[in-house]
Symmetry: C2
Amino acid sequence: MTQPSAKALVPFVSVDNMMRLVNHIGIEQVLRDLATYIEEDFRRWELFDKTPRVASHSDVGVIELMPTSDGEAYGFKYVNGHPKNTSEGLQTVTAFGLLADVYTGYPVLLTEMTLLTALRTAAMSAVAARYLAPKGADTMAMIGNGAQSEFQSLAMKAILGLKTVRLYDKDAAATEKCARNLSGTGLTVVKCTTPEEAIRGARILTTCTADKQNARILTDNMVGAGVHINAIGGDCPGKTELASGILSRAQVFVEYPEQTRIEGEIQQMPPDFPVTELWQVLAGTARGRSDDRQITLFDSVGFAIEDFSALRYVRDKVRDTPYHTDLDMLADPDDPRDLFGMLHRASL
Amino acid sequence: MTQPSAKALVPFVSVDNMMRLVNHIGIEQVLRDLATYIEEDFRRWELFDKTPRVASHSDVGVIELMPTSDGEAYGFKYVNGHPKNTSEGLQTVTAFGLLADVYTGYPVLLTEMTLLTALRTAAMSAVAARYLAPKGADTMAMIGNGAQSEFQSLAMKAILGLKTVRLYDKDAAATEKCARNLSGTGLTVVKCTTPEEAIRGARILTTCTADKQNARILTDNMVGAGVHINAIGGDCPGKTELASGILSRAQVFVEYPEQTRIEGEIQQMPPDFPVTELWQVLAGTARGRSDDRQITLFDSVGFAIEDFSALRYVRDKVRDTPYHTDLDMLADPDDPRDLFGMLHRASL
């Protein structure tokens, strides 16, 4: 056997290596870095090749491909969503992603993206909050203490300077787990037993629950003036977390309206319900928060460009580390026309 | 570090292992097996989730995702097309693919697909020829002696009983390479110096050239009655190989009309040009060849279901062999809600 050439090898970041990479850099630094990469890409939003997810639905779940390109790099994420998996000891969501060179079409990175998606989702929320939350907001209510809750809390600390997080989950064990994980991070953690208690004094309200049906985690009378709502959990048709009365009173910011109107909180509202595209706020062409009493809402569903930013970051960071292995994934005959000869010679 | 559970590991077939697998089974047996898998899937064509490729174009090439699902398994192929790559010592086309379980959304196979695509394309051609070529046809003209030519020739031998192949390429070195690779396979190989010489006595005419512009590898007066044309090379807008007069005289069979009308030979014809869907011939609901004097044409562009068949085959065959490695690609915390805890514990 001849060895494949370097060009035919694709760096692969396993789950194990992703954990090593993140722990090596430090999770708060990773979150800050991801925020920087996301901001860069949101500022040049218009040059991206944007397309809605390519979804394949079944009775029990969905498998999606989320591609995008900035003209130099091409990225896509594979992600599934199977709520019934948890009861079978499997993950609801698993993901991996690929980055390729547009000029050659060759993949340049294959990586796990379950952890990476959790990190980029949290960094995205903190970027939005930096532009939308009231000045000086340093207390957050974290409603829903599942897999995303610690990442959200730490990103708000690392990027926005959050000091206190007030936890609530209808399952007290989830709150205990989140509080335990956040101990020693420098955040003041308050465990609450009702949503009303959790939002007391909080000027950032993050909802991240897993209810499948239309839910009302926050009702209209719970939300007063001068708060920023970071709504993470509503992310597919039929799945929302906020009472529509809140949406009517809020200035709503979204990633990609074509997708959010189908998947986000605003699926409850008419198709012409006014929204602001977040990238325009970052680019300086649209206004973020206009005054201290406004209610701002980031209706987050996750968009391919955020994954692209995360893939770019991992490619840049992993390059000179041992935290990857090389996959012999691309056939590379010496003579491009002699694929058959390569196969035949391998048998000798 | 705890080890990831078996559920979190994805079998990966590298280029090296694909070559070992194919050489272990024997290439002619692989081609026959692939033909069987393709026939199975074409017969149940209607239950597949079909979508045109998701393409991202640039000035120098294209990157495509080709997904499909039969409701039990989901597959997609990543494939690029960069004609200028050859001059830079890179492949024009590289590909890899993934198969997943629709019920869980978990990937079950990641594999190189450059070699696998060459094999499935050849098997597909031979399946079509079995239904469309004149009875007893045992001589093929192979026009274009590039990377696909040996695979085409061997598939026609293994699946159809081809005895003689008559080679022509405008580059004599390609013909020499193809003839050398086919020596010892049992095929009678005749090297020709003109297309006219190559088609002499051949009742199957395979065209597989790389001309980018609209070409006329076969002109109208070269094609007489009672032949089957297997047109492989025309596979993107602006790339065709046959004079339109041939199309007018032929009964044209296609994979997926929506895609072939854009990419295939029939892009030269009006949008309502009559075609027969090949799957209907295999399912017995449409007629294949109707008489010995008919000209049949398989206008092949390649469709996602063929890749799906190939992915199914590799999954089935590789299972109990050493020809794969396991990739730690899916995050698998003991408690699905404790992704953060898994990351944190990895740092201890």
